[in-house]
């Protein structure tokens, strides 16, 4: 692990934590709120790349686990990680990894629309699918019902996917993916 990767992973873990301060929108009919934090998750993937992106989200979970109140509403500790939203939270590292993986693939010809599609598939569809299924399993309710109510997140998450793509392209010159891609291109 390079020091720079460590620091950037820590930065984005903290960033997702700070996004948890923005009041989340609670939904009456399912126990998982709409939160800005997914924007940070998606950004971690498409700005940091697969390795650092995934690391940052694992670190985020570790930080929550040791009790920092980084989830919306100032929640932390082990409780939320085994609660109904567990599937959503645990899918974040995987989502960041997958977004990073495909973003790195298209990096040299990166366009907003390409990143947007990647973000949408893995940052919205993937996370929401896993999250809804796990939620239904933990609460022992029906999977079909869980997934149907989970659809409520899709519009918001789509907007976040688009916004993240725009930001990532604007920050392209300072992205650590540049050095990752540069190194592999010369290997």
């Amino acid at each position: 692990m390079k020091t720079k990767e460590m620091v950037l992973a820590a930065l984005f873990a903290a960033l997702v934590g700070v996004m948890g301060l923005v009041p989340a929108i609670p939904l009456g009919f399912i126990p998982v709120p709409i939160t800005l934090q997914t924007l940070g998750v998606i950004l971690a993937g498409c700005f940091l790349g697969k390795k650092t992106g995934a690391m940052s989200m694992i670190l985020f979970i570790v930080l929550v686990a040791i009790g920092l109140p980084l989830l919306s509403g100032g929640r932390g500790g082990i409780a939320p990680l085994i609660g109904p939203a567990a599937g959503y939270i645990w899918s974040w590292p995987i989502a960041a990894f997958l977004i990073g993986y495909f973003t790195e693939k298209v990096w040299f010809e990166a366009k907003v629309w390409k990143i947007m599609i990647i973000n949408f598939v893995f940052g919205a569809l993937f996370v929401d699918a896993i999250g809804a299924v796990v939620m239904a399993m933990i609460t022992h309710t029906s999977i079909v019902g869980g997934v149907t109510s989970g659809l409520i997140f899709i519009p918001g998450d789509t907007i976040k996917a688009i916004v993240a793509a725009i930001i990532a392209i604007q920050l392209k010159t300072v992205s650590p993916i540049n050095s990752v891609r540069f190194n592999t291109a010369h290997r």
Binding site: T3, A13, A14, P31, L59, I66, G76, A79, P84, I167
Partner: protein
């Protein structure tokens, strides 16, 4: 806004207990709670939680507050089972099944909350690091992860300062956002400068860490260390026996 850790400042022996003992205890007990099914089991679980909470001098109001976020889900789960899980809709059997799910989740949540309420995050992190140190032999960079926790803690206030700094100056610019959409648009415009400046800071921090010879962590020594006192091993018998009782006796 400030980050307040969930830590509740009190002087109890649970607070002083070595974090590793606490972490392992919680793990054991959580595993046993998953198997909770019989009435006797529930009684044992609840009694054990009440005992720990009392010993830790935790205000019960605090624990109530901590479970507030899960109340809706518990209600939902309860109703679902009450309606669908029995032989008929709204059966007595369904009611009990629902109750059991709710109490089981409650027990797990409260136990987890008590861990972080009685241990400062940095101490918990140190406990975690010390416990996981053997993993270094498997080439898992424990020291690095532990440093990452430290850096993330350093970034939390820094990000907010930076955000505030940019926000105040933007308001001084005379743009006073009125509607929610205006506010959101303005925030959007702040994200790129914020990230740019944070990434620059990350660069500087990287150099600072390397300048102080942080490496792979092989020969690293530790200033803060934990030591488990003899009688603390004895306390460990409590969660073990609780878990044992729940898993195999009742």
């Amino acid at each position: 806004m400030e980050f307040s850790t969930d830590y509740v400042t009190k002087d109890s022996f649970i607070h002083r207990l070595d974090p590793r003992i606490k972490l392992l205890s919680v793990m054991f007990m959580l595993i046993s709670y998953i198997q909770l099914n019989t009435w006797a089991g529930f009684v044992v679980a609840i009694v054990s939680i009440v005992m720990i909470g009392t010993l830790a001098k935790l205000p019960w109001l605090y624990l109530l507050k901590a479970i507030r976020p899960v109340i809706i889900i518990l209600l939902f789960t309860f109703l679902y089972h009450f309606i669908f899980s029995g032989a008929t809709y709204f059966s007595l059997e369904g009611l009990f099944i629902g109750l059991r799910y709710v109490v089981r989740i409650l027990c797990m949540v409260v136990l987890a909350v008590m861990l972080t309420a009685t241990t400062k995050p940095m101490i918990l992190a140190l406990g975690l690091e010390t416990m996981l140190r053997p993993l270094e032999k498997l080439r898992i960079p424990v020291a690095q992860w532990s440093l990452m926790i430290t850096i993330a803690l350093r970034f939390l206030p820094l990000i907010m300062e930076e955000w505030k700094r940019i926000q105040v100056s933007q308001q001084a610019r005379g743009i006073v956002p009125h509607s929610l959409t205006q506010k959101m648009m303005l925030s959007m415009k702040m994200i790129v400068p914020l990230l740019l400046s944070l990434v620059t800071r990350a660069d500087h921090l990287t150099m600072a860490i390397e300048a102080r010879a942080f490496g792979k962590g092989q020969n690293r020594t530790h200033f803060h260390t934990l030591s488990i006192k003899k009688r603390e091993y004895l306390y460990f018998l409590f969660p073990i026996s609780i878990s044992f009782i729940i898993l195999f006796v009742v």
